[in-house]
Protein backbone atom coordinates (compact mmCIF):
# COMPACT_ATOMS: atom_id res chain seq x y z
CA UNK A 1 0.00 0.00 0.00
CA UNK A 2 1.30 3.42 -0.90
CA UNK A 3 1.95 6.27 1.48
CA UNK A 4 -0.30 9.20 0.61
CA UNK A 5 0.74 11.73 3.26
CA UNK A 6 3.82 11.90 5.42
CA UNK A 7 5.52 14.28 7.79
CA UNK A 8 8.90 14.11 9.43
CA UNK A 9 10.19 16.00 12.45
CA UNK A 10 7.19 18.29 12.32
CA UNK A 11 6.91 21.06 14.90
CA UNK A 12 4.61 23.99 15.27
CA UNK A 13 5.07 26.79 17.71
CA UNK A 14 2.45 29.41 18.56
CA UNK A 15 3.58 32.43 20.56
CA UNK A 16 3.27 30.69 23.92
CA UNK A 17 2.55 27.07 23.08
CA UNK A 18 4.37 24.31 21.29
CA UNK A 19 1.29 22.84 19.63
CA UNK A 20 3.15 20.16 17.65
CA UNK A 21 6.38 18.76 19.00
CA UNK A 22 8.63 16.82 16.63
CA UNK A 23 6.02 14.54 15.11
CA UNK A 24 6.67 11.81 12.54
CA UNK A 25 3.68 10.34 10.77
CA UNK A 26 2.80 8.43 7.63
CA UNK A 27 -0.70 7.87 6.33
CA UNK A 28 -1.50 5.13 3.85
CA UNK A 29 -3.83 5.62 0.91
CA UNK A 30 -7.29 4.33 1.72
CA UNK A 31 -6.68 4.36 5.46
CA UNK A 32 -9.14 5.83 7.94
CA UNK A 33 -7.03 7.33 10.68
CA UNK A 34 -8.44 8.86 13.84
CA UNK A 35 -6.73 11.35 16.14
CA UNK A 36 -7.64 11.30 19.81
CA UNK A 37 -6.36 13.59 22.48
CA UNK A 38 -7.46 15.90 25.27
CA UNK A 39 -8.44 19.48 24.50
CA UNK A 40 -5.43 21.43 23.31
CA UNK A 41 -3.46 18.30 22.39
CA UNK A 42 -2.70 19.76 18.96
CA UNK A 43 -5.10 17.71 16.82
CA UNK A 44 -6.60 20.63 14.93
CA UNK A 45 -3.19 22.19 14.47
CA UNK A 46 -1.80 18.96 13.04
CA UNK A 47 -4.76 18.62 10.70
CA UNK A 48 -4.42 22.17 9.47
CA UNK A 49 -0.75 21.59 8.75
CA UNK A 50 -1.60 18.43 6.81
CA UNK A 51 -4.28 20.38 4.93
CA UNK A 52 -1.72 23.00 3.92
CA UNK A 53 -3.64 25.75 5.74
CA UNK A 54 -0.87 26.31 8.28
CA UNK A 55 2.81 26.39 7.52
CA UNK A 56 4.64 24.49 10.26
CA UNK A 57 7.48 26.16 12.14
CA UNK A 58 9.71 23.29 11.07
CA UNK A 59 9.33 20.11 9.06
CA UNK A 60 7.50 19.44 5.82
CA UNK A 61 4.35 17.75 4.63
CA UNK A 62 4.74 15.41 1.67
CA UNK A 63 1.80 14.36 -0.52
CA UNK A 64 2.62 11.17 -2.41
CA UNK A 65 6.26 11.82 -1.64
CA UNK A 66 6.29 15.34 -3.01
CA UNK A 67 5.90 18.78 -1.49
CA UNK A 68 2.42 20.28 -1.54
CA UNK A 69 1.55 22.14 -4.74
CA UNK A 70 -1.44 24.17 -5.86
CA UNK A 71 -2.87 20.95 -7.25
CA UNK A 72 -3.18 19.53 -3.72
CA UNK A 73 -6.23 21.70 -3.03
CA UNK A 74 -8.09 20.01 -5.87
CA UNK A 75 -7.54 16.65 -4.16
CA UNK A 76 -8.60 17.30 -0.59
CA UNK A 77 -11.88 17.95 1.16
CA UNK A 78 -12.05 19.63 4.53
CA UNK A 79 -14.51 20.03 7.35
CA UNK A 80 -13.09 22.39 9.95
CA UNK A 81 -13.86 22.12 13.64
CA UNK A 82 -15.79 25.36 13.31
CA UNK A 83 -16.56 27.33 10.23
CA UNK A 84 -18.97 29.90 8.81
CA UNK A 85 -20.49 30.19 5.38
CA UNK A 86 -21.49 33.22 3.32
CA UNK A 87 -24.75 34.76 4.58
CA UNK A 88 -28.14 34.45 2.93
CA UNK A 89 -27.25 31.46 0.73
CA UNK A 90 -29.40 28.36 0.62
CA UNK A 91 -27.97 24.87 0.97
CA UNK A 92 -28.10 24.45 -2.77
CA UNK A 93 -26.55 27.87 -3.52
CA UNK A 94 -23.73 27.10 -1.14
CA UNK A 95 -23.02 23.75 -2.74
CA UNK A 96 -23.10 25.29 -6.22
CA UNK A 97 -20.74 28.03 -5.12
CA UNK A 98 -18.17 25.64 -3.74
CA UNK A 99 -18.54 23.30 -6.71
CA UNK A 100 -17.57 26.17 -9.02
CA UNK A 101 -14.14 26.43 -7.37
CA UNK A 102 -12.98 23.02 -8.61
CA UNK A 103 -11.97 21.61 -11.98
CA UNK A 104 -14.21 18.63 -11.44
CA UNK A 105 -17.13 18.45 -9.06
CA UNK A 106 -19.75 15.88 -8.18
CA UNK A 107 -23.29 16.65 -9.34
CA UNK A 108 -25.07 18.68 -6.67
CA UNK A 109 -28.05 16.31 -6.74
CA UNK A 110 -25.78 13.40 -5.82
CA UNK A 111 -24.35 15.29 -2.87
CA UNK A 112 -27.76 16.38 -1.67
CA UNK A 113 -29.04 12.86 -1.81
CA UNK A 114 -25.97 11.30 -0.27
CA UNK A 115 -25.96 13.67 2.71
CA UNK A 116 -29.76 13.63 3.04
CA UNK A 117 -30.18 17.32 2.46
CA UNK A 118 -33.07 17.24 0.00
CA UNK A 119 -35.61 18.38 2.58
CA UNK A 120 -33.63 21.49 3.38
CA UNK A 121 -31.99 22.25 0.06
CA UNK A 122 -33.79 25.58 -0.29
CA UNK A 123 -33.33 26.67 3.30
CA UNK A 124 -30.71 29.29 4.12
CA UNK A 125 -27.90 27.55 5.92
CA UNK A 126 -28.19 29.39 9.24
CA UNK A 127 -31.72 28.05 9.68
CA UNK A 128 -30.45 24.45 9.65
CA UNK A 129 -30.36 22.31 12.77
CA UNK A 130 -26.99 21.26 14.14
CA UNK A 131 -27.10 17.88 12.47
CA UNK A 132 -28.28 19.26 9.13
CA UNK A 133 -25.57 21.86 9.26
CA UNK A 134 -22.98 19.19 9.93
CA UNK A 135 -24.25 17.23 6.93
CA UNK A 136 -24.01 20.37 4.78
CA UNK A 137 -20.42 20.90 5.90
CA UNK A 138 -19.66 17.29 5.05
CA UNK A 139 -21.32 17.69 1.65
CA UNK A 140 -19.16 20.77 1.04
CA UNK A 141 -16.04 18.81 1.87
CA UNK A 142 -17.10 16.16 -0.66
CA UNK A 143 -17.92 18.56 -3.48
CA UNK A 144 -14.74 17.82 -5.43
CA UNK A 145 -14.81 14.06 -4.84
CA UNK A 146 -11.56 14.36 -2.86
CA UNK A 147 -8.86 11.73 -2.45
CA UNK A 148 -8.25 12.77 1.14
CA UNK A 149 -11.00 13.84 3.49
CA UNK A 150 -10.19 15.80 6.66
CA UNK A 151 -12.88 15.83 9.34
CA UNK A 152 -12.16 17.79 12.52
CA UNK A 153 -14.60 16.67 15.22
CA UNK A 154 -17.42 16.18 12.72
CA UNK A 155 -19.87 14.67 15.21
CA UNK A 156 -19.39 16.90 18.23
CA UNK A 157 -22.80 18.06 19.39
CA UNK A 158 -24.82 15.57 17.34
CA UNK A 159 -27.52 13.38 18.85
CA UNK A 160 -26.87 9.59 18.83
CA UNK A 161 -29.06 9.05 15.79
CA UNK A 162 -27.44 11.79 13.75
CA UNK A 163 -24.05 10.41 14.77
CA UNK A 164 -24.99 6.92 13.66
CA UNK A 165 -26.11 8.29 10.34
CA UNK A 166 -22.88 10.20 10.01
CA UNK A 167 -20.93 7.00 10.61
CA UNK A 168 -22.86 5.31 7.81
CA UNK A 169 -21.89 8.12 5.48
CA UNK A 170 -18.25 7.86 6.43
CA UNK A 171 -18.36 4.09 5.91
CA UNK A 172 -19.73 4.73 2.41
CA UNK A 173 -16.91 7.10 1.62
CA UNK A 174 -14.37 4.67 3.05
CA UNK A 175 -15.78 1.99 0.78
CA UNK A 176 -14.84 4.17 -2.20
CA UNK A 177 -11.21 3.88 -1.14
CA UNK A 178 -10.78 7.46 0.05
CA UNK A 179 -8.31 8.34 2.74
CA UNK A 180 -10.07 9.77 5.79
CA UNK A 181 -8.38 11.74 8.53
CA UNK A 182 -10.66 12.40 11.46
CA UNK A 183 -10.42 13.78 14.99
CA UNK A 184 -12.90 12.92 17.68
CA UNK A 185 -13.52 12.89 21.39
CA UNK A 186 -15.75 9.83 21.11
CA UNK A 187 -14.05 6.50 21.72
CA UNK A 188 -16.69 4.34 20.12
CA UNK A 189 -16.49 6.53 17.04
CA UNK A 190 -12.76 5.97 16.75
CA UNK A 191 -13.12 2.29 17.52
CA UNK A 192 -15.89 1.86 14.97
CA UNK A 193 -14.64 3.98 12.07
CA UNK A 194 -10.88 4.04 12.22
CA UNK A 195 -8.42 1.47 10.93
CA UNK A 196 -5.75 3.31 12.81
CA UNK A 197 -5.98 5.29 16.03
CA UNK A 198 -3.44 7.92 17.04
CA UNK A 199 -3.43 9.21 20.60
CA UNK A 200 -1.87 12.63 21.05
CA UNK A 201 -1.09 14.84 23.98
CA UNK A 202 0.86 18.07 24.32
CA UNK A 203 1.83 18.05 20.68
CA UNK A 204 3.32 14.56 20.74
CA UNK A 205 2.05 11.28 19.34
CA UNK A 206 1.82 8.85 22.26
CA UNK A 207 0.84 5.77 20.31
CA UNK A 208 -0.46 4.69 16.96
CA UNK A 209 -2.06 1.46 15.72
CA UNK A 210 -5.28 -0.47 15.36
CA UNK A 211 -7.44 0.04 18.46
CA UNK A 212 -7.56 -3.65 19.46
CA UNK A 213 -3.83 -4.10 19.02
CA UNK A 214 -3.03 -0.99 21.06
CA UNK A 215 -5.25 -2.14 23.88
CA UNK A 216 -3.65 -5.58 24.07
CA UNK A 217 -0.19 -4.01 23.94
CA UNK A 218 -0.87 -1.66 26.82
CA UNK A 219 -3.05 -3.68 29.14
CA UNK A 220 -3.25 -6.83 31.14
CA UNK A 221 -6.23 -8.82 30.03
CA UNK A 222 -8.85 -7.50 32.45
CA UNK A 223 -9.70 -4.47 34.46
CA UNK A 224 -11.26 -4.22 37.88
CA UNK A 225 -12.79 -0.85 38.52
CA UNK A 226 -13.61 0.19 42.10
CA UNK A 227 -15.27 3.49 43.11
CA UNK A 228 -12.85 5.46 45.29
CA UNK A 229 -15.30 5.93 48.14
CA UNK A 230 -15.17 2.17 48.84
CA UNK A 231 -11.45 2.26 49.48
CA UNK A 232 -9.75 3.40 52.67
CA UNK A 233 -6.19 4.75 52.56
CA UNK A 234 -4.64 1.59 54.13
CA UNK A 235 -6.52 -0.58 51.64
CA UNK A 236 -5.21 1.49 48.72
CA UNK A 237 -1.70 1.13 50.08
CA UNK A 238 -2.02 -2.64 50.34
CA UNK A 239 -3.48 -2.91 46.83
CA UNK A 240 -0.60 -0.89 45.48
CA UNK A 241 1.81 -3.27 47.15
CA UNK A 242 0.31 -6.43 45.59
CA UNK A 243 2.18 -8.36 42.94
CA UNK A 244 1.08 -8.93 39.28
CA UNK A 245 -1.24 -5.91 39.28
CA UNK A 246 -1.10 -2.55 37.62
CA UNK A 247 -2.98 0.09 39.59
CA UNK A 248 -4.06 3.52 38.42
CA UNK A 249 -6.27 6.05 40.16
CA UNK A 250 -8.55 8.62 38.57
CA UNK A 251 -10.66 11.12 40.44
CA UNK A 252 -13.58 8.71 40.77
CA UNK A 253 -12.21 5.22 40.32
CA UNK A 254 -9.32 2.95 41.12
CA UNK A 255 -8.51 0.85 38.05
CA UNK A 256 -6.72 -2.42 38.61
CA UNK A 257 -5.38 -4.38 35.67
CA UNK A 258 -4.92 -8.09 36.15
CA UNK A 259 -4.40 -11.26 34.16
CA UNK A 260 -5.56 -13.95 36.59
CA UNK A 261 -8.51 -14.01 38.90
CA UNK A 262 -6.43 -15.32 41.83
CA UNK A 263 -4.41 -12.09 41.88
CA UNK A 264 -7.46 -10.07 42.92
CA UNK A 265 -9.35 -12.47 45.13
CA UNK A 266 -7.83 -10.84 48.22
CA UNK A 267 -9.15 -7.44 47.15
CA UNK A 268 -12.62 -8.70 46.37
CA UNK A 269 -12.86 -10.18 49.85
CA UNK A 270 -12.10 -6.82 51.43
CA UNK A 271 -14.31 -4.52 49.41
CA UNK A 272 -18.04 -4.26 49.57
CA UNK A 273 -19.39 -5.69 46.34
CA UNK A 274 -21.19 -2.53 45.32
CA UNK A 275 -20.28 -0.50 42.23
CA UNK A 276 -17.40 -2.78 41.36
CA UNK A 277 -17.04 -3.78 37.73
CA UNK A 278 -14.84 -6.34 36.05
CA UNK A 279 -14.42 -5.86 32.34
CA UNK A 280 -12.21 -5.88 29.27
CA UNK A 281 -10.06 -2.78 28.86
CA UNK A 282 -11.27 -0.47 26.11
CA UNK A 283 -9.93 2.47 24.19
CA UNK A 284 -11.06 4.87 26.87
CA UNK A 285 -8.83 3.12 29.43
CA UNK A 286 -5.91 3.37 27.05
CA UNK A 287 -6.60 7.04 26.56
CA UNK A 288 -6.74 7.56 30.34
CA UNK A 289 -3.58 5.62 30.86
CA UNK A 290 -1.62 7.56 28.26
CA UNK A 291 -2.90 11.08 28.72
CA UNK A 292 -3.94 10.95 32.34
CA UNK A 293 -7.21 12.67 31.58
CA UNK A 294 -10.81 11.71 31.01
CA UNK A 295 -11.75 11.46 27.39
CA UNK A 296 -14.51 14.03 27.25
CA UNK A 297 -12.52 16.56 29.21
Amino acid sequence: MSVILSVEKLSHQYKQTTAINNVDLTITAGECIGFLGPNGAGKSTLLEILEGVKTPTSGKVLFQGRQLTKHYKQQIGIQFQSTSLPDFLTVKDTLLLFASFYHTALPIATLIEMCQLSEVENQTHYTLSGGQRQRLLLALSLVNDPEILFLDEPTTGLDPQARAHFWQLVEQIKAQGKTIIITTHYMEEAQKLCDTVVIMDRGKILCRGAAAQLISEHFHQHILSIPMELLSTPMLASINAMANLHVKQSATHCLIEYNHMEDIVAILREVENRGITMRQPHLEDLFMKLTGSELRA
Binding site: T83, L85, P86, L140
Partner: protein, 327 residues
Protein backbone atom coordinates in the same frame (compact mmCIF):
# COMPACT_ATOMS: atom_id res chain seq x y z
CA UNK B 1 -13.79 32.18 -14.60
CA UNK B 2 -16.48 29.75 -13.50
CA UNK B 3 -15.54 30.41 -9.88
CA UNK B 4 -15.54 34.16 -10.44
CA UNK B 5 -19.04 34.19 -11.92
CA UNK B 6 -20.38 31.89 -9.21
CA UNK B 7 -18.92 34.11 -6.51
CA UNK B 8 -20.36 37.24 -8.09
CA UNK B 9 -23.72 35.57 -8.32
CA UNK B 10 -23.54 34.34 -4.74
CA UNK B 11 -22.62 37.78 -3.50
CA UNK B 12 -25.47 39.35 -5.46
CA UNK B 13 -27.89 36.78 -4.11
CA UNK B 14 -26.70 37.61 -0.65
CA UNK B 15 -27.22 41.29 -1.30
CA UNK B 16 -30.58 40.91 -2.97
CA UNK B 17 -31.87 38.78 -0.08
CA UNK B 18 -30.74 41.37 2.40
CA UNK B 19 -33.82 43.52 1.89
CA UNK B 20 -32.75 46.26 4.25
CA UNK B 21 -29.50 46.80 2.35
CA UNK B 22 -31.30 47.36 -0.94
CA UNK B 23 -33.89 49.67 0.49
CA UNK B 24 -31.28 51.69 2.19
CA UNK B 25 -28.93 52.08 -0.74
CA UNK B 26 -31.75 53.21 -3.00
CA UNK B 27 -33.70 55.41 -0.64
CA UNK B 28 -30.86 57.17 1.11
CA UNK B 29 -29.58 59.26 -1.83
CA UNK B 30 -33.08 60.00 -3.11
CA UNK B 31 -34.25 61.22 0.28
CA UNK B 32 -31.15 63.36 0.78
CA UNK B 33 -31.50 64.95 -2.61
CA UNK B 34 -35.19 65.70 -2.21
CA UNK B 35 -34.59 67.10 1.26
CA UNK B 36 -31.77 69.30 0.08
CA UNK B 37 -33.72 70.46 -2.93
CA UNK B 38 -36.54 71.50 -0.60
CA UNK B 39 -34.25 73.20 1.89
CA UNK B 40 -32.47 75.10 -0.87
CA UNK B 41 -35.67 75.69 -2.78
CA UNK B 42 -34.89 79.38 -3.10
CA UNK B 43 -32.16 79.36 -5.68
CA UNK B 44 -31.72 83.14 -5.59
CA UNK B 45 -29.61 84.62 -2.85
CA UNK B 46 -30.86 87.91 -1.49
CA UNK B 47 -27.75 89.93 -2.40
CA UNK B 48 -26.33 90.72 -5.78
CA UNK B 49 -22.94 89.25 -6.35
CA UNK B 50 -20.33 90.92 -8.50
CA UNK B 51 -16.96 89.49 -9.36
CA UNK B 52 -13.86 91.64 -9.64
CA UNK B 53 -10.90 90.71 -11.78
CA UNK B 54 -7.49 92.42 -11.55
CA UNK B 55 -6.63 95.77 -9.92
CA UNK B 56 -9.67 97.63 -8.75
CA UNK B 57 -8.38 101.21 -8.32
CA UNK B 58 -10.39 102.74 -11.14
CA UNK B 59 -13.64 101.03 -10.20
CA UNK B 60 -13.80 101.81 -6.50
CA UNK B 61 -17.13 103.51 -7.05
CA UNK B 62 -18.62 100.18 -8.11
CA UNK B 63 -17.07 98.36 -5.20
CA UNK B 64 -18.41 100.84 -2.69
CA UNK B 65 -22.04 100.09 -3.58
CA UNK B 66 -23.92 98.82 -0.57
CA UNK B 67 -25.67 95.41 -0.37
CA UNK B 68 -23.58 93.92 -3.07
CA UNK B 69 -21.24 91.01 -2.46
CA UNK B 70 -17.87 91.59 -4.05
CA UNK B 71 -15.82 88.49 -4.91
CA UNK B 72 -12.27 88.75 -6.17
CA UNK B 73 -11.00 86.41 -8.88
CA UNK B 74 -7.44 85.80 -10.06
CA UNK B 75 -8.44 83.55 -12.91
CA UNK B 76 -10.40 85.30 -15.64
CA UNK B 77 -11.81 82.22 -17.35
CA UNK B 78 -13.00 80.88 -14.03
CA UNK B 79 -14.74 84.15 -13.28
CA UNK B 80 -16.32 84.22 -16.74
CA UNK B 81 -17.60 80.71 -16.18
CA UNK B 82 -19.28 81.91 -12.98
CA UNK B 83 -21.08 84.60 -14.96
CA UNK B 84 -22.19 82.09 -17.58
CA UNK B 85 -23.58 79.81 -14.88
CA UNK B 86 -25.29 82.66 -13.00
CA UNK B 87 -23.13 82.00 -9.96
CA UNK B 88 -22.35 85.72 -9.95
CA UNK B 89 -24.45 88.44 -11.50
CA UNK B 90 -21.66 90.33 -13.20
CA UNK B 91 -17.91 90.74 -13.43
CA UNK B 92 -15.86 93.93 -13.59
CA UNK B 93 -12.21 94.76 -14.25
CA UNK B 94 -10.44 98.10 -14.58
CA UNK B 95 -11.45 98.43 -18.27
CA UNK B 96 -14.51 96.33 -18.86
CA UNK B 97 -17.43 94.40 -17.46
CA UNK B 98 -19.09 91.08 -18.31
CA UNK B 99 -22.79 90.43 -18.11
CA UNK B 100 -25.00 87.44 -18.87
CA UNK B 101 -27.87 88.70 -21.07
CA UNK B 102 -30.10 85.81 -20.01
CA UNK B 103 -29.95 86.80 -16.37
CA UNK B 104 -32.51 89.28 -15.03
CA UNK B 105 -30.33 90.01 -12.04
CA UNK B 106 -27.47 90.62 -14.46
CA UNK B 107 -29.51 93.38 -16.09
CA UNK B 108 -30.00 95.18 -12.79
CA UNK B 109 -26.33 94.80 -11.90
CA UNK B 110 -25.36 96.19 -15.30
CA UNK B 111 -27.41 99.35 -14.61
CA UNK B 112 -25.70 99.72 -11.25
CA UNK B 113 -22.24 99.31 -12.76
CA UNK B 114 -22.88 101.77 -15.57
CA UNK B 115 -24.24 104.35 -13.14
CA UNK B 116 -20.96 104.23 -11.19
CA UNK B 117 -18.48 103.72 -14.04
CA UNK B 118 -20.02 104.60 -17.42
CA UNK B 119 -16.74 104.23 -19.34
CA UNK B 120 -16.37 100.46 -18.93
CA UNK B 121 -16.57 98.25 -22.04
CA UNK B 122 -19.36 95.67 -22.10
CA UNK B 123 -18.90 91.98 -23.00
CA UNK B 124 -21.72 89.48 -23.00
CA UNK B 125 -21.34 85.92 -21.76
CA UNK B 126 -24.36 83.74 -22.24
CA UNK B 127 -25.17 80.52 -20.49
CA UNK B 128 -27.89 78.89 -18.49
CA UNK B 129 -28.10 79.04 -14.74
CA UNK B 130 -27.20 75.90 -12.87
CA UNK B 131 -29.88 74.99 -10.40
CA UNK B 132 -28.78 73.92 -7.01
CA UNK B 133 -30.18 70.43 -7.40
CA UNK B 134 -28.37 70.06 -10.71
CA UNK B 135 -25.15 70.99 -9.00
CA UNK B 136 -25.80 68.68 -6.05
CA UNK B 137 -26.97 65.60 -7.95
CA UNK B 138 -23.57 64.45 -9.24
CA UNK B 139 -22.06 65.15 -5.85
CA UNK B 140 -24.63 63.18 -3.88
CA UNK B 141 -24.44 60.27 -6.27
CA UNK B 142 -20.67 60.35 -5.99
CA UNK B 143 -20.89 60.46 -2.22
CA UNK B 144 -23.24 57.52 -2.19
CA UNK B 145 -20.83 55.62 -4.41
CA UNK B 146 -18.03 56.43 -2.03
CA UNK B 147 -19.86 55.17 1.05
CA UNK B 148 -21.25 52.01 -0.49
CA UNK B 149 -17.95 51.29 -2.21
CA UNK B 150 -15.70 51.84 0.80
CA UNK B 151 -17.89 50.35 3.50
CA UNK B 152 -19.79 47.78 1.44
CA UNK B 153 -16.89 45.48 0.69
CA UNK B 154 -14.74 46.26 3.70
CA UNK B 155 -17.16 45.06 6.35
CA UNK B 156 -18.19 41.96 4.49
CA UNK B 157 -14.59 40.85 4.06
CA UNK B 158 -13.59 41.58 7.64
CA UNK B 159 -16.62 39.68 8.89
CA UNK B 160 -15.88 36.78 6.54
CA UNK B 161 -12.32 36.70 7.81
CA UNK B 162 -13.28 36.79 11.46
CA UNK B 163 -15.98 34.17 11.24
CA UNK B 164 -13.85 31.80 9.14
CA UNK B 165 -15.68 31.98 5.80
CA UNK B 166 -12.43 33.06 4.17
CA UNK B 167 -10.55 30.21 5.82
CA UNK B 168 -13.04 27.79 4.28
CA UNK B 169 -12.46 29.44 0.89
CA UNK B 170 -8.72 29.28 1.40
CA UNK B 171 -8.68 25.47 1.35
CA UNK B 172 -10.41 25.42 -2.02
CA UNK B 173 -8.49 26.20 -5.21
CA UNK B 174 -9.95 29.72 -5.20
CA UNK B 175 -7.22 32.38 -5.49
CA UNK B 176 -7.08 35.66 -3.59
CA UNK B 177 -7.19 37.46 -6.89
CA UNK B 178 -10.38 35.66 -7.97
CA UNK B 179 -11.98 36.36 -4.65
CA UNK B 180 -11.09 40.06 -4.70
CA UNK B 181 -12.23 40.59 -8.27
CA UNK B 182 -15.53 38.87 -7.56
CA UNK B 183 -16.14 41.19 -4.62
CA UNK B 184 -15.16 44.18 -6.75
CA UNK B 185 -17.38 43.24 -9.67
CA UNK B 186 -20.45 42.21 -7.70
CA UNK B 187 -20.32 45.38 -5.64
CA UNK B 188 -19.74 47.45 -8.76
CA UNK B 189 -22.82 46.03 -10.45
CA UNK B 190 -24.99 46.72 -7.43
CA UNK B 191 -23.76 50.28 -6.92
CA UNK B 192 -24.04 51.20 -10.58
CA UNK B 193 -27.53 49.74 -10.83
CA UNK B 194 -28.70 51.75 -7.83
CA UNK B 195 -26.93 54.86 -9.12
CA UNK B 196 -28.70 54.61 -12.45
CA UNK B 197 -32.07 54.24 -10.72
CA UNK B 198 -31.42 57.19 -8.42
CA UNK B 199 -30.24 59.20 -11.38
CA UNK B 200 -33.31 58.49 -13.45
CA UNK B 201 -35.66 59.21 -10.56
CA UNK B 202 -34.02 62.52 -9.69
CA UNK B 203 -33.66 63.63 -13.31
CA UNK B 204 -37.35 62.99 -13.94
CA UNK B 205 -38.44 64.54 -10.68
CA UNK B 206 -36.50 67.76 -11.25
CA UNK B 207 -36.35 67.71 -15.06
CA UNK B 208 -32.59 67.73 -15.21
CA UNK B 209 -30.94 67.23 -18.55
CA UNK B 210 -27.51 65.64 -18.97
CA UNK B 211 -25.60 67.89 -21.35
CA UNK B 212 -22.81 65.46 -22.19
CA UNK B 213 -22.78 61.78 -23.14
CA UNK B 214 -24.60 59.44 -20.77
CA UNK B 215 -22.09 56.71 -21.68
CA UNK B 216 -19.20 58.89 -20.67
CA UNK B 217 -21.00 59.58 -17.42
CA UNK B 218 -21.42 55.84 -16.89
CA UNK B 219 -17.75 55.23 -17.63
CA UNK B 220 -16.74 57.86 -15.13
CA UNK B 221 -19.07 56.50 -12.47
CA UNK B 222 -17.80 52.98 -13.13
CA UNK B 223 -14.19 54.03 -12.66
CA UNK B 224 -15.04 56.16 -9.64
CA UNK B 225 -16.96 53.37 -7.95
CA UNK B 226 -14.27 50.82 -8.80
CA UNK B 227 -11.69 53.15 -7.23
CA UNK B 228 -13.72 53.38 -4.00
CA UNK B 229 -14.26 49.61 -3.84
CA UNK B 230 -10.57 48.98 -4.49
CA UNK B 231 -9.66 51.25 -1.61
CA UNK B 232 -12.15 49.37 0.57
CA UNK B 233 -10.58 46.07 -0.48
CA UNK B 234 -7.13 47.39 0.31
CA UNK B 235 -8.15 48.55 3.78
CA UNK B 236 -9.84 45.21 4.50
CA UNK B 237 -7.05 43.13 3.02
CA UNK B 238 -5.73 41.64 6.25
CA UNK B 239 -7.43 42.95 9.38
CA UNK B 240 -9.83 40.95 11.55
CA UNK B 241 -11.02 44.02 13.38
CA UNK B 242 -14.21 45.85 12.47
CA UNK B 243 -13.13 48.74 14.61
CA UNK B 244 -9.84 49.19 12.84
CA UNK B 245 -11.49 48.93 9.47
CA UNK B 246 -14.15 51.39 10.49
CA UNK B 247 -11.56 53.85 11.79
CA UNK B 248 -9.50 53.82 8.63
CA UNK B 249 -12.56 54.09 6.40
CA UNK B 250 -13.82 57.05 8.43
CA UNK B 251 -10.42 58.65 8.15
CA UNK B 252 -10.66 58.31 4.38
CA UNK B 253 -14.30 59.16 3.85
CA UNK B 254 -14.73 62.24 6.00
CA UNK B 255 -12.11 64.36 4.23
CA UNK B 256 -13.64 63.28 0.93
CA UNK B 257 -17.07 64.22 2.19
CA UNK B 258 -15.97 67.80 2.86
CA UNK B 259 -13.03 68.42 0.57
CA UNK B 260 -14.30 66.96 -2.67
CA UNK B 261 -16.64 69.81 -3.45
CA UNK B 262 -19.90 67.95 -2.99
CA UNK B 263 -21.52 70.53 -0.75
CA UNK B 264 -19.57 73.64 -1.50
CA UNK B 265 -16.99 74.67 -4.00
CA UNK B 266 -13.45 74.80 -2.68
CA UNK B 267 -12.33 77.79 -4.69
CA UNK B 268 -10.67 80.47 -2.70
CA UNK B 269 -9.53 78.00 -0.05
CA UNK B 270 -5.89 77.60 0.88
CA UNK B 271 -3.40 75.88 -1.43
CA UNK B 272 -2.78 72.95 0.88
CA UNK B 273 -6.47 72.26 1.15
CA UNK B 274 -6.70 72.22 -2.63
CA UNK B 275 -3.69 69.93 -2.77
CA UNK B 276 -5.37 67.43 -0.46
CA UNK B 277 -8.59 67.71 -2.41
CA UNK B 278 -6.75 66.90 -5.63
CA UNK B 279 -5.49 63.66 -4.15
CA UNK B 280 -8.97 62.43 -3.22
CA UNK B 281 -10.66 60.16 -5.74
CA UNK B 282 -14.06 61.62 -4.93
CA UNK B 283 -12.87 65.04 -6.11
CA UNK B 284 -12.08 63.60 -9.52
CA UNK B 285 -15.25 61.55 -9.73
CA UNK B 286 -17.27 64.57 -8.73
CA UNK B 287 -15.55 67.12 -10.99
CA UNK B 288 -15.82 64.81 -13.98
CA UNK B 289 -19.49 64.05 -13.23
CA UNK B 290 -20.33 67.74 -13.01
CA UNK B 291 -18.36 68.55 -16.13
CA UNK B 292 -20.30 65.93 -18.11
CA UNK B 293 -23.74 66.72 -16.69
CA UNK B 294 -23.59 70.49 -16.49
CA UNK B 295 -21.06 71.52 -19.14
CA UNK B 296 -21.37 68.62 -21.56
CA UNK B 297 -17.62 67.89 -21.32
CA UNK B 298 -16.15 65.22 -23.61
CA UNK B 299 -13.71 62.44 -22.82
CA UNK B 300 -10.65 64.62 -23.48
CA UNK B 301 -11.83 67.30 -21.08
CA UNK B 302 -12.21 64.82 -18.24
CA UNK B 303 -9.30 62.59 -19.33
CA UNK B 304 -7.10 63.61 -16.40
CA UNK B 305 -9.80 62.71 -13.92
CA UNK B 306 -10.35 59.31 -15.52
CA UNK B 307 -6.62 58.56 -15.55
CA UNK B 308 -6.35 59.47 -11.90
CA UNK B 309 -9.16 57.05 -11.05
CA UNK B 310 -7.55 54.28 -13.10
CA UNK B 311 -4.29 54.86 -11.21
CA UNK B 312 -6.08 54.60 -7.87
CA UNK B 313 -7.74 51.34 -8.94
CA UNK B 314 -4.47 49.81 -10.11
CA UNK B 315 -2.49 50.74 -7.02
CA UNK B 316 -5.18 49.77 -4.49
CA UNK B 317 -6.04 46.46 -6.12
CA UNK B 318 -2.39 45.44 -6.43
CA UNK B 319 -1.80 46.28 -2.79
CA UNK B 320 -4.99 44.50 -1.76
CA UNK B 321 -4.11 41.23 -3.47
CA UNK B 322 -0.44 41.45 -2.44
CA UNK B 323 -1.32 42.02 1.21
CA UNK B 324 -4.37 39.76 1.27
CA UNK B 325 -4.75 37.32 4.16
CA UNK B 326 -7.44 34.66 4.39
CA UNK B 327 -7.20 34.35 8.17
Amino acid sequence: MKALLALIQARNLEFSRDKSAIGWSLLFPIIILIALALVFDDDSPSLYRVGVYGPSTSIEAVLSLKHIDIIHYDDLSDAQYKVARHHIDGLVSAEQYWINPTSARGYIVEQLILAQAPSLQKTEISGEAVRHVEWLLPGIIGMNMMFSGLYGVGYVIVRYRRTGVLKRFQVTPLSAWQFLSSQLLSRLLVILATAVIVFVVICTLFTIEIKGSAWLLLLNMTLGTAAMISIGLMVASRTRSDEWCNGVLNLLSWPMMFLSGIWFSLEGSKDWVRLIADMLPLTHLNDANRAVIIDGAGIVAIGDHLLFLVAIITVSLSLASYRFKWQ
